[in-house]
Symmetry: C2
Subunit: 324 residues, 2 copies
Amino acid sequence: MVEVVLKANLETIEAQISELQSKKAQLESLLEDIYFQQRLAQKAVIAKNITVIGGAGKLGSLFVRVLTQLGHNVSVFETQDWPNAEALLTNQDCVIVSVPINLTLSLIEKVAQIISPDTVLADLTSIKVKPLQAMLSAHAGPVIGLHPMFGPDVADIEDQVIAYSEGRNTRACQWLLDDLSILNPTLYPVSAENHDKAMAFIQVMRHFSTFVYGVHLKDEDPCLRELIAMSSPIYRLELAMIGRLFAQDSQLYADIIFSNPDNFELLKRFQQRYQSGIELLESGNKELFKQSFADVNLWFGEFAEHFLEESRCLLEAAHQYRVK
Amino acid sequence: MVEVVLKANLETIEAQISELQSKKAQLESLLEDIYFQQRLAQKAVIAKNITVIGGAGKLGSLFVRVLTQLGHNVSVFETQDWPNAEALLTNQDCVIVSVPINLTLSLIEKVAQIISPDTVLADLTSIKVKPLQAMLSAHAGPVIGLHPMFGPDVADIEDQVIAYSEGRNTRACQWLLDDLSILNPTLYPVSAENHDKAMAFIQVMRHFSTFVYGVHLKDEDPCLRELIAMSSPIYRLELAMIGRLFAQDSQLYADIIFSNPDNFELLKRFQQRYQSGIELLESGNKELFKQSFADVNLWFGEFAEHFLEESRCLLEAAHQYRVK
């Protein structure tokens, strides 16, 4: 009897919470809109003519949406528009290149022949050294490289990181950064070289290691269901991080991983360290292992504890999202 | 003005939600207790005398708490109790060994000399073949191996996985499994051999690869702050998963990784596949890469999509838990 009453109470409370939460979401969205309008009024955006090449693609269309929201006149340029390229690409204030990596360099050369000398030329490629070099050598006007550090499935760019590398005449590109900042992303300035070095870790090493781990699992062929059934929350997360890669577009990952042969050296050094690690295991020297462990702890500094705390919250959340 | 009203409304709603959520938590806890009492009444636990060796440790004390909650008479046995071992360990219905891996085998031998022939001997070690062999050869009575697949910081064992491997006379151990099941864990039966093979992936490979990645980062020495600043949500998660290891006890991980030299072969095969992967990159053969990618996708089957969906929810949650 008590149980029935408690269950009814619980259901009522859950319904109330759900109703309040949707009200809350409405209010937040209204407030966000007010704040956005306030920032928009303060910064007084001057409407520019912007063309996004590849603007029908996933990432391109996100930028079309965002720049339109800011009050710019944004045009989409796709493959079928090349016959009218002269008319469409001249007299633009800004042309943004958002095409797959393997097409970027040749496209930049083609585009630079057409655009006006004072057009801001920008790209959204996930590497920065080569596209920036290509833009600087093919175009005499203002140049800036952008790299949005998020997938195209985000709702908006608020709180998301956009790395940018200066090319030429940054003052002439500043309006683009200023206007984007109205939407509250984190704009992160970084040299193209440092950007690409960081990406060697963040993208190339990560995706390549995940790829090899997937191949390893397939070749070892353990029972996946049994592995999942016995997974600790953290290993389940790891399995999910591996499995998710292979549900995606292999061309995209091939392009990222093969993009820069300079990165292969980093992978080779990892492989050598993996081998040294195995030799350490075979020597049975636990003290040396613990010394290495302590050295890495020191390298991570305060972040080791931060990450432990962060992942603790996250693993609790992960437990709820499990696919049963 | 509108803004002020909206903000006040939002605060009111947030307070209401927070109040309702704490009411909800109270109700849920009451209901859980009722369900627990119902299951307890149905199963009619017969109070047994249980000693947990290492019961003052993290995992041991969790089991002391859980078994006491079920109505058993649970004693803690620690190093200082050895002088009274005869008195404390004989005539127990069950003795559970919960000590660090590197002490488990010798401790089992010592304990088995003392306990009564019909005592259920169990262990909580994260490997199963060797402890089970040790228990079977040193003790003539009922034997069962348990491996709780979670850290000792969980609030309770509901929904958590406990793998178990049968040793001898499982019927005489059944009450222990039945009683634990009152608390709604997932009890997962698995042979000691299959358990250890799965753990080679779930623990040894995972922890070892993370260790090597940490060493790699330390030796390459990129700017960690810059890496974090530019991380996509998924790479931030990876960094957190690496960093968290090094905030923990190196002895524990040394023990797990060094525990079984048979596992080193698995690591070597991974290393060989890593090398083959690098050779594939150097050959520039993207088509072969994409073919491998497709093969692994096939191996993951429906789980590839499941994991993508699961990680999508999780990455949204992760975005909130970031340490800024």
